[in-house]
């Protein structure tokens, strides 16, 4: 422990020396050669004009990388990593690193991790928190630390009503997803008898309240499940009892798969609709054949929103981009643009994000005063023969 601290201190000192040296003249190679010096020597050979210069800049990441919904955090982390790798390749004199902390999506676990991130002075901005619950729990910490955050995925509408200056998100909130879902159920599915089930989480409850209000008298049955349990018979019975022709589930993919399988087992043939928490391949594999015909909406773009990005993602991870990968890429691009513009303190970065206005791969990236993206729309997807098929915007 002691040793690594000294090592880090030495590295920092050396790095500082390098900056000073490169400011003075670009020709000299410092005597003490470490891994860092390889980068600077490459830069020397390519000339001083190649890319941006910076040092010891780190972007934080906070979200579930394992646990029930770990796939969602992984998607985001991978998207961010692609943006950073591109930046580092183009700017050999400015190596940006990412400090990923795994909260398992649990607000209780996220809170101490947020303190660790906030206390790390080299972190100038944060991608995340991935979920709404952990955002609510950790934002006071980031706010106090003056650490700007851009969430690629937290959609609880209440998050932007706390007067937090540091909070931003690159996708629309549940209050906008809710009306989109109502529009889908009324207009596209044309259902008149809807059951709404939520998982009592910050995200699930928030979205369900909005959908229930929008459906008004079309909502004929409500139920709440306990996501820690695996048997949802009570909710299934409530739906069956009411004879609904559409079931909307507000929660995450693991429970959505179990719930859908149990609905079908009990002979409930209603169209299954779920929000962005269920938009994951694992929903399809978990529910099996029962998943076919299910509608899944998202304020997030479909993973194939940008063909170039999909190619890059495939090259890096041998897989298609997941939910929130493009958003995390966009969020990271904003921060990297800030670094390129020399904004390497938290305060400068916050101001830079505030004023940002440029196209991203998902949408025009511009934040209003509360940190919400300006303008948005709801995308939807249907499961067809075991595949998630994107259908574009809800008409």
């Amino acid at each position: 422990m002691q040793k690594s601290k000294i090592g880090r201190l030495a590295a920092t000192t050396l790095a500082l020396a390098l900056v000073v040296a490169s400011c003075g003249s670009d020709t000299k190679e410092p005597a003490g050669t470490t891994a860092d010096s390889t980068a600077s020597s490459t830069a020397d050979t390519t000339g001083a004009a190649a890319g941006v210069k910076c040092d010891g800049v780190t972007i934080g990441f906070l979200g579930a990388l394992s646990g029930d919904a770990g796939a969602l955090g992984d998607n985001a982390a991978n998207g961010a990593q692609i943006a950073i790798d591109e930046f580092n390749a183009a700017n050999p004199d400015c190596k940006v690193s990412i400090d990923k902390q795994d909260s398992q999506g649990d607000p209780a676990q996220a809170t101490p991790l947020a303190t660790t991130l906030a206390n790390n002075a080299s972190i100038i901005a944060l991608i995340g928190p991935v979920f709404s619950g952990e955002s609510k729990a950790t934002m006071p910490t980031f706010e106090t630390a003056g650490l700007p955050v851009i969430s690629p995925s937290a959609t609880n509408a209440q998050l932007t009503t706390n007067g937090w200056k540091m909070f931003h998100r690159v996708l629309a909130n549940d209050d906008k997803q809710g009306p989109g879902i109502v529009q889908l159920i009324k207009g596209t599915i044309k259902s008149a008898k809807v059951g709404v089930i939520d998982d009592a989480s910050d995200y699930g409850k928030g979205l369900a309240v909005s959908v229930r209000a929008g459906l008004a008298e079309l909502d004929i049955a409500d139920a709440t499940i306990d996501p820690k349990a695996a048997d949802y018979s009570a909710a299934v019975t409530a739906m069956k009892d009411a004879g609904v022709d559409t079931v909307f589930y507000s929660g995450y993919y693991a429970e959505a798969a179990k719930l859908l399988a149990q609905l079908r087992d009990a002979g409930v043939t209603a169209t299954f609709v779920s929000g962005d928490g269920a938009l994951d391949e694992k929903f399809v594999t978990g529910a099996g054949a029962a998943a076919d015909g299910a509608y899944i909406t998202a304020t997030a773009s479909p993973p194939d929103v940008n063909v170039d990005f999909a190619k890059k993602y495939n090259a890096a991870y041998g897989d298609e981009p997941g939910l929130y990968s493009p958003e995390a890429y966009d969020a990271t691009q904003i921060i990297l643009a800030g670094i390129a513009a020399g904004k390497v303190t938290r305060a400068d970065m916050a101001a830079f994000i505030e004023a940002y206005d440029a196209p991203g791969i998902t949408k025009q990236l511009k934040f209003d005063v509360t940190g919400e993206p300006e303008g948005s729309a709801v995308f939807y997807t249907i499961v067809e023969a075991g595949k998630l098929v994107s259908k574009g915007l809800v008409p």
Partner: protein
């Protein structure tokens, strides 16, 4: 129904209209709780120890039966890759085989837990609190190990094609599925076998003797270490059986599947009177019913079911601090 909170009270009628369906669900859950509760209550009887790792024995068995089903390639073998339509003796044979695998894994892992986590402490006469910490540690270690290195890491292990649920008959308008019947009947048979084993067999007498007074039992020639091992084994067998039955009902497993089941089963054991075999069975079934009825009290909210279950526990303990049937493995009729 779009009106929330207070609107919930108006749906109290839902409780009445869904009484029978929720009773059936409650019986199914209760049967599983009861079997798992046996593991807690038996070990408590002989060691005065809450074996928190019992929930992980359940989880390992759930995974074990899934793996057995996959290794044996059951769905494909029976159906040629088509729909899993299995009936009659074929179905019973397959289920029995998988049950055996699950039960064996349950028994073995419980024995391993005893050997690794408790026996070394017992030989050193460690204080009781240390056993408790060791129990919690074992539970976390097993669960996290499966989460880290298990077949699906932390994701859900789903086997939706294994068992096709079919409606058999109706009770007061409530559908009864083949899975419900298998779970309840299977659990009843296992519980009956256990009650007979504890009350009638020679080893069962040994278990009761150790529970009553380990020192005296030792003086009377009972091999206490062996009895303790057998007690863990039997508890593990029950958890293994419960896991398999539960997987028929809900064909999903995850590294933390034992957690909520374990808490409920432990609660059931306390509700019935910990250390008391019949108490665990009664407590399990009651808890399952109360939880299920509670879920349909105000609309349909599973969390209210959980609240109802624990409120009942508190109320019962206020009136009968040692549970419904009292703590009495040793003195008991079983």
């Amino acid at each position: 129904m779009a009106t929330l909170s207070f609107g919930g009270f108006l749906t109290f009628a839902g409780f009445l209209s869904r009484f029978w369906p929720s009773t059936i669900t409650g019986l199914v859950l209760g049967a599983v709780y009861a079997l798992v509760a046996l593991g807690y209550t038996l070990v408590y009887g002989v060691l005065r120890l809450i074996n928190f790792a019992n929930s992980e024995v359940f989880m390992l068995s759930a995974f074990g039966s899934f793996l057995a089903i996959e290794v044996l390639n059951v769905p494909q073998r029976l159906t040629g890759g088509g729909d899993p339509v299995k009936t009659g003796w074929e179905l019973i044979g397959i289920l029995a085989l998988c049950l055996v695998v699950s039960v064996v894994i349950g028994g073995l892992s419980a024995v391993v837990v005893e050997r690794v986590a408790y026996r070394p402490l017992r030989q050193r006469n460690a204080p009781r609190l240390v056993f408790l910490i060791s129990a919690i540690g074992a539970s976390f270690a097993i669960s996290e190990a499966v989460g880290e290195w298990g077949p699906q890491q932390r994701d859900e292990y789903a086997l939706t094609k294994f068992f096709k649920k079919q409606q058999l008959f109706k009770v007061f308008g409530a559908d009864v599925y083949n899975a419900n019947v298998i779970v309840v009947v299977g659990a009843a048979v296992m519980a009956l076998a256990l009650v007979l084993f504890v009350s009638k067999s020679r080893v069962g007498r040994g278990i009761r003797a150790v529970a009553q007074d380990a020192e005296t039992a030792k003086l009377m020639g009972v091999n206490v270490d062996r009895i303790i091992l057998i007690t863990f084994l039997v508890g593990g067998l029950m958890a293994g059986g419960a896991a398999f039955l539960y997987e028929i009902h809900t064909p999903f497993a995850r590294y933390d599947v034992g957690f909520s089941i374990g808490i409920k089963a432990f609660t059931a054991a306390v509700l019935g009177g910990i250390g008391n075999v019949r108490g665990a069975l009664l407590g399990g079934v009651l808890l399952g019913l109360i939880e299920s009825w509670g879920s349909s009290l105000f609309g349909s909210d599973q969390n209210i079911g959980n609240v109802a279950a624990f409120v009942t526990l508190v109320l019962v303990l206020m009136v009968r601090p040692s549970g419904l049937l009292g703590e009495s493995l040793g003195r008991s009729k079983a």
